[in-house]
Amino acid sequence: MNIHTYEKLWLVGAMLLIVGFIATVTYGAVGVGVTMIDDSEETIDPTQLDEDERFSEPRVEQVGENEYDVYVVARQFMFQPDPIEVPAGSDVTFYVTSADVIHSFSVAGTNVNTMVIPGEVSTMTVEFDEPGEYGIVCNEYCGSGHHAMEAMLIVQPEDEFELEEGEN
């Protein structure tokens, strides 16, 4: 089989591209520390969220000095809690599950984005350095009211933040 010299050159170029892409992605994972949504949580019965210690009361919870856990339930066609309020300068871990169909939990204009699958819990940790307000949307079709499924994420200035009791 004879391959033209130019085509061999291109073959080398193509392999360089492929290896370069894989290297960049690996750098993002190892160097920058971007982690993927994974299978670290147990499965859960979506019809029994009321019984679940974490999701019966969707909420923001302080778990360390600058660390917060947020338990979010996505359901047709809303997110709970709404708004989600966290302080700037904190590490926030989101635990998101669905009470019914597949949704997403996507903070518009950022890289915070996960699918939400009934029976599974998505977890992701995010550092919020600056105060700000973000819209949260569901970007997976979930039924006829899908376009109305939204919430707000408010990152408060550190000194103004107060965790309300029984916040919902």
Binding site: G13, V34, V112, N113, M124, V126, E127
Partner: protein
């Protein structure tokens, strides 16, 4: 097998696809540039991003 429009017939050995090489080299450069731009500017600049539990 030359069609009506063809002015000359080029066999395998008298044809070097130099134009193709030129085009594809441009494409290669474009891909490298756009990839770097998308990854390092659009993506990594679009904070906050999901990071591991530290």
């Amino acid at each position: 097998m030359a069609s009506e429009t063809s002015k000359r017939e080029l066999g395998h050995d008298d044809f070097d696809p130099i134009g193709t090489l030129a085009l594809i080299a441009l494409y290669f450069l474009l891909l490298v540039f756009l990839w770097l731009f998308m990854y390092f500017v659009e993506f990594l600049g679009n904070e906050p991003t999901v990071v591991g539990l530290i």
